[in-house]
């Protein structure tokens, strides 16, 4: 019987050999949430790029990153926005800030949407996004042509958060951002004192929680169904995601097969 790890290795091999991004885009991932491999090789535009996933990242980011570490290219390929390092947004920001502290102005960041710029209210952004879809129904919605604010709830957290899916280009980005956003909740649950003494490293608290894969990331799609995040290509995901929910794994058990069922119906058959 083939193990999950071997299945995943097979899948990656296929991906590495297959230079056609489109086929890759519809290929079903086999890895279950919680499984991981320390290094992944992904083909982007013909050249293999190693994605180093820090050993500490388990469960959560794997669940939504089961193979889709490929970033998307924006602006017709003028600039490659492939983010190949874990937590790229955070790294970039730190560089900018330290540059500023040294009195140097930072070099222009790669073309990424900046949070809150241009200064347009969400109401207007959301309204215009709907208008654009109505007016240009034949075209695919441009990446970054609007904004996609979705609510994110976490079981047990006292309030909701909102994220703009447009500013992320892959599941990695989204998972980093969510980890940062919700780590403050898990601090409350576990007590910062406890976590600090456990290993002394500055791992995020959420990661500790997720060593046990207690939480998974799910989303509600346009049909109102709740699915596991990570099963479909990023583009398809942001086009159909209406809201996100970080739910306890125990509650999510029923989701996995349904998600695969649904994907099976809309994409090419899985090669099992």
């Amino acid at each position: 019987m083939i193990t999950n790890m071997e299945k995943q290795a097979q899948a990656y091999e296929i991906m590495a050999n297959n230079k056609d991004l489109n086929l890759k885009a519809t290929e079903l991932r086999l890895g279950l949430p919680g499984s991981e491999s320390p290094e992944r090789e992904v083909v982007v535009h013909g050249s293999a790029i190693k994605i180093l996933v820090a050993g500490a990242k388990r469960g959560f980011s794997d669940a939504i990153n089961g193979g889709y570490g490929v970033g998307l290219v924006k602006n017709g390929g003028q600039e490659t926005d492939v983010l190949v390092t874990p937590k790229p947004a955070l790294l970039e920001k730190k560089t900018q800030v330290s540059d500023k502290l040294n009195g140097q102005s930072s070099s222009p960041a790669p073309k990424q949407q900046v949070v809150g710029w241009p200064p347009i209210r969400s109401f207007r952004k959301n309204t215009m996004a709907v208008s654009h879809t109505k007016n240009e129904e034949k075209d695919d919605p441009k990446i970054g042509s609007g904004c996609l604010y979705v609510k994110v709830s976490m079981d047990g957290a006292p309030y909701l958060r909102k994220v703009d899916l447009e500013i992320y280009s892959c599941y990695l980005d989204l998972s980093s951002a969510l980890e940062k956003m919700f780590s403050c909740f898990t601090i409350g649950q576990y007590g910062s004192h406890e976590v600090r003494t456990r290993d002394g490293l500055s791992e995020t608290r959420l990661m500790d929680l997720l060593h046990g894969s207690e939480y998974v990331l799910t989303y509600e799609d346009k049909d109102g169904d709740w699915m596991l995040v990570g099963d479909v290509p990023w583009d398809m995901f942001i086009a159909s995601c209406k809201r996100l929910r970080i739910m306890k794994s125990s509650d999510a058990i029923g989701l996995a097969p349904r998600a695969r069922e649904k994907s099976r119906n809309c994409t090419e058959p899985n090669n099992e």
Binding site: V115, S122, R124, M181, F185
Partner: protein, 580 residues
């Protein structure tokens, strides 16, 4: 020593003084004036809900009828303030429900309002009349249902741009048949469809209805029915302005519009189908206010409308109007006071709309009364800004947003320091300014020297060093609100101007170079400021003092540190000091 005037006389005199600042000044004259004034103050405005507590307000002003509160910092509009920040209405309504049984009006901006809060409003205040929720959130249509059902004398329900959890349109049907007092209803931010017959009947039994802003779900074909029942309307917001092109529907609509002899303001216009635009032509000549900023119609159609509005004072429009449309505007609308141009496609690098700095220059030339500008564009030059400044020294609000951060003068590739410098030099009454484009410390030198009436300044991606911030804090005498993002401003300027911060309402700095240690020192030096560090990375307690803070919000307060901060916000006065 007896008073020169009896109290009643003074009170009567004070009743003519309505502006908040004037009343505040009156209260400072002497102790007896303070006492008299506080007992007869009926309207209270609190620009920062955390600057004071409900208890303090109630203790000082026992007979208030109208309360206006503002919560979150302005940058919350652009998602820079994380959810859970605060600005809760409930603590206020709890105490007011006990202290002000005769409260009539509540106006809130950027506050978190709950259904429980709305229900309490609807039940605690027997004579409640006006509810304005501007950019608020946290409530659902259930809360609205309570307001509709219980406020017997409701005059105004205005939800402008609030984020409402829209469970259904059923709330509108909760207005009882006996409710005939409605003068203003703004439900444009809601998405659910309300019962059309309920809406129709509500409008029909509200003879004093002057303002009606419908939501997108109200179909165009039914608009004429509503207008027939409310020909006295002064301001109308349409629903979706699209339907199958049918001449009979269009002429019905045109006829209904023509009956509205009092109509002065139009808005709405979502999903516009140009076929139906002529229906409004008959009212254009009377319009003073027009909001087409959701109308995705092209330049010729927009131009055709605005050129028929010679009395227009306020125009909001998308950049589809283009330079040609703005030029036409400058020739036709000589009474224009306010212009706001929004981007149709803000996230693409190259627009296919021909809107440049020239459009704004043209308007500045032709519209002599122009005072307030909000303009999104993709290119700007120092010469254009200088021309605008010289044309319109009467500007009091100038907000320019060049879409690309740090974009230079597109002609000379220089910074736009001189252009904005010209603005602050010529427009001596400038109260509000938003900067954009490539800017060095020099522009702040100009602002500090010249912008003496400036009350609100917004800065993004600008400046070279702390000197920039120092110029502003040390120079702008009237500054009340300063909001900064992504600028290399840090500790030196902040700590050199600590007392300035107590003369202002608030300071926001995000993605700048302010260190944690500086925030602590600021807090130590100025005990009447709340120095709040917002940082979602966690572990604020274990970070070194040299580490930069993500976001900083500083405001003066007499209420001390607030008690409702989420875990990612810390008040530096409460920060335990670690030996590092």
């Amino acid at each position: 020593m007896a008073l020169s005037f009896p109290e009643e006389v003074l009170e009567h005199v004070f009743s003519f003084i309505t502006s908040h600042t004037d009343r505040n000044t009156v209260s400072l004259v002497c102790k007896s004036w303070y006492e008299i004034e506080r007992w007869c103050r009926r309207r209270v405005f609190i620009g920062n809900c955390y600057a004071v507590s409900p208890g303090i307000m109630i203790r000082r002003f026992p007979e208030v009828r109208c309360v206006e509160l503002k919560g979150k910092p302005h940058f919350a509009d652009f998602n820079l303030v994380p959810d859970g920040w605060g600005g809760y209405f409930y603590p206020w309504v709890c105490e007011m429900s006990r202290a002000y049984p005769w409260l009539e009006e509540i106006r809130l901006k950027r506050m978190v309002v709950s259904d429980e809060g709305l229900e309490l409003v609807s039940k605690a205040f027997k004579n409640f009349k006006v509810l304005v929720l501007s950019s608020c959130e946290g409530f659902s249509t259930d809360g609205l249902a309570a307001i509709a059902a219980n406020c017997r004398n409701l005059r105004e329900l205005d939800l402008r741009e609030s984020e409402v959890e829209d469970l259904s349109g059923h709330w509108l049907s909760h207005f009882p048949d006996s409710c005939t007092s409605l003068q203003s209803l703004n439900m444009s931010c809601l998405s659910s469809e309300v019962s059309f017959s309920a809406l129709q009947r509500l409008i029909a039994r509200s003879p004093n209805l002057k303002t009606l802003r419908l939501n997108r779900a109200v179909p165009l074909e039914k608009l004429s029915t509503l207008l027939h029942r409310a020909p006295q309307l002064v301001e109308l917001g349409t629903g979706a302005y699209s339907a199958e092109a049918r001449p009979d529907v269009c002429s019905n609509l045109a006829e209904a519009f023509s009956r509205c002899k009092e109509l002065k303001g139009l808005s709405g216009f979502w999903d516009v189908v140009p076929f139906y635009l002529p229906a409004i032509y008959s009212v254009c000549s009377r319009l003073t206010s027009l909001n087409l900023s959701y109308a995705t119609i092209q330049s010729p159609d927009v131009t055709k409308i605005v050129t028929q509005c010679p009395n227009l004072q306020s125009l909001s429009v998308l950049d589809y109007i283009e330079d040609t449309g703005l030029n036409a505007l400058s020739l036709s609308c000589k009474d224009l006071r306010e212009l706001r141009v929004f981007p149709s496609d803000p996230f693409v690098a190259d627009a296919n709309v021909s809107l440049t700095e020239q459009g704004l220059v043209a308007v500045s030339e032709g519209c002599y009364k122009l005072q307030s500008v909000l303009y999104f564009c993709r290119q700007m030059s120092n010469s254009a800004l200088t021309t605008i400044a010289k044309n319109r020294p009467n500007l009091n609000c100038f907000r320019l947003c060049i879409l690309e951060p740090r974009a230079p003068d597109y002609l000379t590739l220089e910074p736009l320091d001189n252009g904005f410098g010209a603005i602050v030099e010529n427009c001596k009454q400038l109260q509000r300014l938003s900067l954009s484009g490539l800017l060095t410390d020099r522009v702040f030198e100009y602002i500090g020297k010249r912008a003496k009436k400036l009350e609100m300044l917004s800065i993004a991606f600008a400046g070279d060093s702390d000197l920039g911030l120092h110029h502003v804090l040390s120079g702008c005498d009237s500054l009340r609100k300063l909001e900064i993002r992504d600028c290399p401003f840090g500790d030196k300027a902040l700590l050199a101007n600590v007392s300035k911060l107590e003369t202002m309402r608030s300071l926001w700095m995000s993605s700048c170079s302010v260190s944690l240690g500086a925030c602590k020192r600021l807090s130590q030096k100025m005990p009447r400021l709340n120095v709040e560090v917002i940082d979602e990375q966690g572990d604020l307690d274990s970070r070194p003092d040299s580490s930069p803070v993500e976001k900083l919000y500083v405001y003066r307060t007499v209420a001390g540190p607030r008690l409702d901060m989420p875990s990612f916000i810390r008040n530096m006065a409460q920060n335990p000091t670690y030996m590092r």
